[in-house]
């Protein structure tokens, strides 16, 4: 995983359009130079977009499962709890002040949940993200969670806007 600080850019960034960086499942990216961070195909997965209103540092993580405690796996970005922690830490390292970070979250749909008892993974992902963000005192200033449809996200890090796209409805801007 890389932190984009504008020092190692390709020629493409000379264009007027900001650089676009894809974030895969169980991955995260942090940018300090206004890049657009995107992630696609969130079902029960959840995208956590963090934005430091003071420095403009932005980060996006695409997590899959609620808690790292439940599964043996070394990839922190795969889980709602450790993924959120990781993103906050990486943003701080890139110069963000945790006190001025705001969160926007989207995803956590309960489509295709076949579990018959208890709440589904989508719900549990959302609850875990809320809990972890609260531990850091980071407010959630926008959200589009639950429901039974998929989402794709676009975090415009020059403004902190999170655009949520669905297959069957219009875009929402958080």
């Amino acid at each position: 995983m890389k932190v984009y600080d504008g020092s190692s850019q390709t020629e493409q960034t000379q264009d007027a359009d900001p650089e676009r960086i894809k974030v895969g499942i169980a991955e995260y990216e942090v940018t300090t130079d206004g890049a657009v961070l995107t992630t696609s195909g969130l079902g029960s997965c959840i995208g956590i977009a963090l934005y430091d209103t003071e420095t403009g540092t932005a980060g996006l993580v695409h997590v899959m499962l609620p808690s790292a405690d439940e599964v043996e796996d070394g990839n922190a970005a795969k889980f709602a709890d450790t993924g959120t922690e990781l993103l906050v830490e990486e943003m701080s390292e890139a110069g963000a002040d945790p006190n001025s970070i705001e969160a926007k979250i989207a995803g956590g749909s309960d489509m295709l949940d076949f579990s018959e008892s208890g709440s589904g993974i989508g719900d549990r992902n959302v609850s875990q993200v809320r809990e972890t963000l609260e531990e850091y005192g980071i407010p959630i200033v926008g959200e589009d969670v639950g429901g039974d449809h998929g989402r794709s996200l676009r975090l415009e890090s020059n403004t902190g806007d999170l655009v949520v796209k669905s297959a069957n409805t219009d875009n929402t801007r958080l």
Partner: protein, 404 residues
């Protein structure tokens, strides 16, 4: 010969790191930012290799390698994307065919050396490779002939798909090791634990999947009156977080069921929207109300998904001599990756890697294509294969003809 899930995971990781190394080499040379999207190891019928390349034109380089592993490997670029790569390396070179070719060779050589060295390092043994040979062909023809495996028509293939960040242009690395040394090596790396899978059984399972797909295709034919062919069936292995990437990001229509028994898991039948409309209209006697995908289309797809699922699962149950039951189909109409993501997540609560069974069918009569994806619980699949061995001890060679 047995392989275990651990070594499948290790080899997959090795191919993935090799592809990343190759991609970094290219980024350093050209300044083009690209990323390895997905790497998977598949057991596939020789005839089906490269099917996903479609009819596009490709250029690239091919190497033979030998030593601890032998076989062929290729790196291919979509023809349309080479100009940019070539010009990034040497401005203006794309205008001159011979310069363009030598640039592709040079990039290919550097990328693939990294890829092969990664394998040699891990295996702690030398792997020699020939100089790059420039290739220029369309679709699957760009790939080297699959190594002759003697007794079986199936081969292991490592595939990495690499994507440019700013454009939807992909390139691919394929590695086709010779079957014997590859399986020997995998079995050497297998821990002596309980999670070993006899390779022959995996092959039998793969053949069974093809039978299941054929049965599903027959069902479509009977119901819709469209002559339908089973095209591909393969079993792949990938980290759970790569599972959703097996499906594109376009919108799909289809059905999903959970199946229970041994093994349990999920089965998806997916149609792209155009295929869904075409096949649904072949099923429906009346005109539809409104444009595009209507509720009537969806109802027809639901019914079709149901009979395809039954056809597929029946074949499976027969071979495993198990009852495999499934829930009623749930209709889905959403982004492909978002459909499969909750299923991968549900499996991911108990396993780090997943077996993915992919089948594809299509027809020449109308524009129609459908894919079936099964995601079995990994541990239960292993047990089911084991069971197959115990119950058919006299057929340890897993002769598919006898089983079916």
């Amino acid at each position: 010969m047995k392989i275990d899930v651990q070594s499948l995971g290790t080899f997959n990781q090795l191919a993935h790191e090799g592809a990343e190394q190759a991609t970094r080499s290219m980024a350093q040379m050209t300044g083009i930012d690209a990323e390895v999207d997905v790497t998977k190891i598949s057991l596939v019928d020789r005839a089906d290799i490269g099917e996903e390349l479609g009819d596009s034109e490709f250029v690239g380089v091919q190497f033979e390698f030998e030593g601890a592993l032998s076989g062929d490997t290729v790196l291919v670029f979509d023809r349309d994307s080479t100009d940019e790569i070539v010009n990034a390396l040497m401005p203006g070179a794309a205008e001159d065919p011979s310069m363009a070719q030598s640039s592709v060779e040079e990039i290919g050589n550097i990328m693939m050396s990294g890829f092969i060295d990664g394998w040699a390092d891990y295996l702690g043994a030398g792997i020699e490779h020939t100089p790059p040979e420039y290739i220029e062909r369309s679709g699957a023809d760009v790939l080297p002939e699959a190594p002759d495996t003697g007794e079986t028509d199936q081969v292991f293939v490592f595939r990495s798909e690499i994507e440019w960040l700013d454009q939807s242009v992909n390139f691919f690395i394929y590695m086709l090791p010779e079957y014997e040394p590859m399986t020997e090596m995998m079995s050497e790396h297998a821990a002596a634990g309980d999670d070993a899978i006899p390779i022959e059984k995996l092959e039998a399972f793969n053949r069974m999947t093809r039978k299941g797909t054929e049965k599903a295709a027959e069902n479509v034919e009977m119901m819709a009156g469209i002559e339908t062919e089973a095209e591909v069936s393969q079993i792949s292995f990938a980290p759970i977080e790569d599972v959703p990437k097996q499906v594109g990001n376009d919108t799909y229509v289809g059905t999903v069921v959970e199946f229970t028994g041994a093994p349990s898991g999920y089965l998806l039948v997916l149609f792209d929207e155009t295929s869904a409309i075409n096949v649904a209209e072949a099923l429906m006697p009346m005109e539809t109300d409104g444009d595009g995908l209507t509720d009537q289309h969806k109802a027809a797809i639901e019914e079709l998904g149901n009979i395809m699922t039954s056809g597929f699962v029946d074949g499976w149950a027969n071979v495993l001599q198990q009852t495999v039951e499934h829930t009623p189909p749930r209709l889905v109409h959403d982004m492909g990756r978002a459909i499969i993501d909750p299923l991968a997540a549900q499996l991911g609560q108990h396993q780090q890697h997943a077996f993915i069974i992919d089948s594809k069918m299509k027809t020449d009569e109308v524009a129609f294509e459908s894919t079936i994806h099964a995601l079995p619980n990994e541990e239960e699949l292993r047990e089911a294969l084991d069971e197959l061995l115990v119950e058919r001890a006299e057929e340890t060679e897993a002769d598919a003809e006898q089983i079916f």
